[in-house]
Symmetry: C2
Subunit: 331 residues, 2 copies
């Protein structure tokens, strides 16, 4: 069977460009016992993949010549594994391909997407790994109380937007940080944050002092870099900081000092979050966030590109921070 795929041509330098990737085609063998053939309906583009391309992520490195790894929403075409019935939809490690032969390991790790998930691409966003990241960081690490002031960066992304809305629903005051007026407008008008700071247009430190004059009780960090440092300068005594992502480092920039003196001054508790540790809570997260979405209490946003060939440019846009919401490629 003839399929299409995207390979990594070279390790990106700085922000990835389309030229780091190549569109190609190949032939899939007939599938063996224990395998399943799936069609890829949508690909999830995630910043951690940039880190894996540099060999700096917890997960396996993506080497030049590899078909790029990644999760997608897939539909089972043929199956020789009892778990995957033809016609059903799953989230699985399919890679950047039009079709994939899933092996036993990928099949056992696949997550069923039932008809109640509408649109089904939510299983890649607010009801998927980004949703679990947000839920676990907020519910299990942030120790939030009603009235707390929570700041979250990358606030219009699938993790940040979900964190902020869970916090709003839990009675926190929520301040987002995002780049550009369009993102900030969505964050305040649609996602209902109390405020959103445009770090490209405003003096971030001044804006933080203005929006959180009594200090920041919880900071959910999706970016690292100078934004992390700036928020740490404004922490309230007893603050909690959840370190979740390091967008500012994924493209290869040097780590920015997280000044330990600021942590001491605030008697802060800083926790590192790795979403895989919280996998056992997936169903709990889906039940809770799913209910909020169905009730119209939690908004989500998808940035959809069309066609496998658009994947490299969509990924480059994501890593340049020019996406508007969860970055997806629909095939």
């Amino acid at each position: 069977m003839q399929i299409e795929h995207i390979t990594l041509v070279r390790t990106p330098q700085g922000t990835p460009t389309e030229a780091d990737f190549a569109f190609g085609s190949g032939t899939l063998p007939a599938h063996a016992e224990g395998q399943a053939l799936v069609r890829v309906l949508a690909l999830s583009l995630d910043p951690y993949l940039r880190s894996a391309m540099a060999g700096r992520h917890l997960s396996a490195a993506i080497h030049p010549g590899d078909v790029v790894r990644g999760e997608g929403l897939v539909q089972v075409l043929e199956s020789r594994h009892p778990r995957l019935t033809p016609g059903t939809q799953w989230v699985a490690q399919c890679g950047w391909r039009s079709h994939a032969l899933l092996g036993v390991e990928a099949i056992e790790q696949a997550r069923r997407v039932g008809p109640e998930v509408q649109p089904p691409t939510l299983a890649l966003g607010a009801l998927g790994m980004p949703g679990l990241t947000a839920w676990a960081g907020f519910k299990r690490l942030a120790d939030a109380k009603p009235g707390d002031t929570l700041v979250v960066s990358a606030a219009s992304g699938p993790v940040g937007a979900t964190v902020g809305q869970l916090a709003r629903l839990a009675g926190c005051r929520v301040i987002g940080i995002a780049g550009g007026p369009e993102k900030c407008a969505w964050v305040t008008r649609r996602a209902g944050f109390d405020a959103c700071i445009d770090y490209r247009a405003e003096d971030l430190r001044e804006a933080l002092r203005r929006h959180a004059p009594d200090g920041v009780d919880i900071y959910f960090d999706n970016v690292g870099g100078d934004v992390l440092l700036a928020v740490c300068e404004q922490l309230a005594v007893g603050a909690r900081v959840v370190l979740c992502g390091l967008m500012a480092q994924y493209n290869g920039e040097a780590p920015v000092p997280l000044n330990p003196g600021l942590i001491i001054r605030a008697r802060a508790t800083v926790r590192g979050l790795v979403v895989y540790d919280h996998w056992a809570h997936f169903a709990e997260m889906v039940a809770e966030i799913g209910a909020y979405i169905r009730a119209g209490q939690l908004q989500f946003r998808e940035d959809i590109s069309h066609g496998l060939a658009s994947t490299p440019s969509a990924f480059a846009r994501l890593m340049a921070g020019r996406n508007q919401g969860k970055a997806l490629v629909v095939l």
Copy 2:
């Protein structure tokens, strides 16, 4: 009454020198209602004072021209406050003086030193603020379990030595970090640590990998700087880091990056410790550490200089890391 004192002449640049201070004398007025006249028996020299001299500490700044602030062991000579009976000994904010007139605030914050504290200078070390720092960090923030591998820097100092010995008594494996063979020998032979790394003579990262091959479960940081970074590179998953002091920054060096990626990779919990937050536990700490000391299970070490005039050079030695144990001046 004629008294002697030490003033700060200029804000130190880098490590303090004797020339930053001046020995002088002055006259104390008769003491008013609510005050008490005390003789200073011993002064406690503490690294945070260097930070206060630069105006970078939580406590009030020490300005050029000020008599240097600081805690001491004092004996009451005359009192017009009901709390301080003549002849009794206390730890109080007396400053670098031969005698002091304590006001109401200092009297209310003073801590009684009973005859059971032997030697009484222990009230400035293992049974004083350094002891509470160690006890609170270990008992209240480190979440230690028997079998944990704990690393502590400035291991021969009053905080580090106490932390390590509390950890040993709680069933942890304890690795110290200290500068010089003499300090390391005391830490392993007298304080009973399992090992002590001489960061001046050894490759710290290699030594950490050798002594903690399965990773560091708890790091109690008294120094900041590159030592903090090096230990963070060796954290075990689920590690706890207690940020207590920043010796490396007190002399004015730039903060060293605490790489957030290392915190995420280890799913670590990093907590800032400010000893004042734990003041309510003072008696509990004194009971516990005092019992260990009387039973010969916890060792302490004092680096004693003699005479008020020796205070500047003793402080300069402390800030250059050349002290051996709790730095004290006995008057």
